[in-house]
């Protein structure tokens, strides 16, 4: 920010802002935000990926704009302002997806419009973008958006592989694959999300144990 800051340190800070959403504060696996699209549209990898990218686009654009306007918007009407800004970009995404693929638009259904009320976007606008300069806010939003995309893709890939035996529509196991019907049903979303969270919790615990720390849950 200031002139005296060394170049390497500035880059480190930017990298930190970027990786915050991508990994350390991942919206899906750590903050558990935006569960509604996470569970509903991750039936296939394509759906998950496009939903994630659409959300990332809205997130980056609206965070940048919110950050630019942070000194102009009165505190009392900020939420309304954020919503209008977010809704604008959601409309853009909505029409863009209709233009690119109507089948995808039908598959995602109302969840594109519902990006407006996605708590990641409003949360980031309120907690981060309204307090930081545009460059920092957009890098952070990009990290968050990509983190959300990665999370959705992790769910969508597992559900498509087990539920249809394919990834991005490409068959992996041949014609004789037995689809796990439950994986493309709503319960499958919960099962897969739970398994991922279990995996991350186990990983975290293992890291702490290797570092010689005792988690409070461990009773000797």
């Amino acid at each position: 920010m200031s002139q005296s800051t060394p170049n390497a340190s500035a880059r480190n800070q930017t990298w930190d802002e970027f990786t915050e959403g991508l990994w350390r504060q991942n919206p899906v696996f750590v903050m558990m935000l935006g569960m509604c699209p996470t569970l509903a549209v991750t039936v296939s990898a394509v759906n998950a990926l496009s939903m994630g990218l659409a959300t990332a686009f809205v997130l980056v654009c609206s965070c940048a704009l919110v950050s630019l306007m942070r000194k102009v918007v009165p505190k009392e009407v900020r939420i309304a302002t954020y919503i209008v800004i977010i809704a604008t970009f959601v409309t853009v995404v909505d029409y863009a997806i209709q233009m690119v693929s109507l089948a995808l638009y039908d598959a995602l259904g109302a969840f594109i419009q519902l990006i407006v009320v996605n708590c990641i976007i409003l949360g980031r606008a309120e907690a981060h973008a309204s307090k930081n300069p545009p460059w920092v806010a957009s890098v952070n939003a990009l990290g968050m958006g990509l983190g959300f995309t990665v999370g959705l893709f992790a769910l969508g890939a597992v559900r498509e592989i087990l539920g249809a035996g394919s990834l991005f529509g490409i068959s992996l196991f041949g014609a004789d694959f037995q689809p796990w019907v439950v994986m493309v049903l709503p319960p499958g979303g919960f099962f897969v999300l739970g398994s991922w969270l279990l995996g991350f919790a186990w990983w975290e615990k293992r890291k702490q144990r290797l570092a010689g720390l005792q988690t409070p849950a461990e009773r000797g």
Binding site: G165, F173, D176, F177, Q178, V181, V182, L185
Partner: protein, 388 residues
């Protein structure tokens, strides 16, 4: 003046009645349940041959391997030697079709222990019957395979697998209908009596169902045998007799009332009682100690609920069989049932004391761990113990 003890060092143990010594451990109960399941397994193998035997072994092995993994990693209590995983495996195998692909059976066994038991903290902490959790998962995941039954007492069943058993992992099982055609049996003979009644309107006689011995019916082990094994358990007090009786009574009563109202569209109550998995579920699944109420009144309510739900699901839903979902719903209602059926403590009943029910709340750790941290309101008659 000096109260010198007669035998220095000898501790005098003072206890309240009863003074009957009955060493009864979880292992002992579970071992006896396994013993009582052995004749039923034997009958199942006698009905369906080598496929049934491999199914039981594979599913039980999967349950035991999963249990061992979770016990070893220290994430759950219990041990492999308490036989609970063995019971889960055997019961799961008995509820699945004998020709169920072995890899799907292994998945069911893994889900049963991992999701049904280990996730809640191991033996005694599970909310739902683990075997039924496993079955519910494969019912949702592989609805076709789980509805594919084959007729019992086929010739050559001890030398030949049902072709669907040996499907490669993750692959679609072989078509049993074509296999039955080659044996000069029509496809309909592979349907369970309940499916035949529901979808084709063909009613099997209750007497045939009771013995499971006549013809090539696609049924599980004989209800008579299951009841005999259940009576053994009940007589040795390894199982509470109230729950099976309440389930059978409630299901029979509901079916009988409907039959009396309209005998043409509803089958007779005996068909309802002896078809499907009602008897097996009532005797072995619903009586799981961790998932059923402990109060005698609660047991009756619980059983009545399961029986009623079973008949309602069978009549009015798209599924031919409803025992599994009825028991799972009963499991879910168990804490609530216990809450409303608290026994009256001694001295609390009478004209002068208006409260006839126990005034203490349930032990906080009983419902959930989340509530265990909550502050419990202090009542006069409730002293929170620091043990457990």
């Amino acid at each position: 003046m000096k109260n010198k003890p007669l035998h220095p060092g000898a501790a005098v143990e003072i206890r309240s009645a009863p003074h009957v010594k009955a060493p009864r451990s979880v292992e002992q109960i579970m071992r006896n349940v396994v013993y009582s399941l052995l004749p039923i397994c034997g009958f199942f193998v006698f009905q369906y041959g080598i496929s049934a035997a491999f199914s039981i072994v594979a599913i039980t092995a999967s349950c035991l391997a999963t249990e061992r993994f979770f016990v070893k990693t220290g994430t759950q209590s219990g041990s492999l030697s308490d036989f609970s995983a063995t019971i889960t495996g055997i019961l799961l195998a008995l509820t699945l079709p004998p020709g169920f692909p072995l890899w799907m059976g292994a998945v069911a066994g893994f889900i049963a222990i991992a999701l049904g038991k280990a996730l809640f903290g191991g033996i005694g902490f599970n909310v739902f019957n683990p075997a039924l959790v496993g079955r519910a998962f494969v019912q949702a995941a592989f609805p076709v395979a789980i509805a594919t039954y084959t007729p019992s007492f086929l010739p050559g069943r001890f030398g030949e697998f049902i072709p669907s058993s040996l499907a490669w992992p993750l692959m679609v099982p072989a078509d049993t209908v074509a296999w039955l055609h080659a044996k000069q049996l029509d496809a309909l003979s592979g349907a369970t009596p309940l499916a035949k009644w529901k979808f084709d309107g063909i009613l099997a006689s209750a007497g045939e169902l009771l013995s499971s011995m006549s013809g090539h019916m696609a049924v599980g082990p004989s209800p008579v045998l299951i009841i005999l094994c259940g009576v053994y358990l009940a007589l040795r007090r390894f199982m509470d007799w109230r729950i099976p009786l309440a389930i059978v009574g409630s299901a029979g009563l509901t079916a009988w009332i409907l039959f009396a109202i309209d005998p043409h569209s509803y089958p007779n109550p005996f068909f309802m009682l002896f078809s499907g998995g009602l008897i097996l579920g009532a005797v072995y699944m619903a009586t799981d100690m961790a998932t059923s109420p402990v109060t005698p009144g609660g047991m009756w309510v619980y059983g009545a609920l399961i029986g009623l739900l079973t008949v309602l699901i069978r009549y009015y839903s798209g599924l031919p069989e409803g025992v599994m979902y009825a028991i799972l719903l009963g499991n879910a209602a168990t804490p609530l049932i216990e809450r409303i059926t608290q026994p009256t403590p001694f001295g609390k009943s009478g004209l002068l004391s208006p409260k006839r029910r126990a005034t203490y709340p349930l032990h906080p750790e009983y419902i959930s761990r989340e509530e265990a941290n909550a502050v419990t309101p202090k009542k006069k008659s409730f002293k929170p113990g620091k043990k457990s």
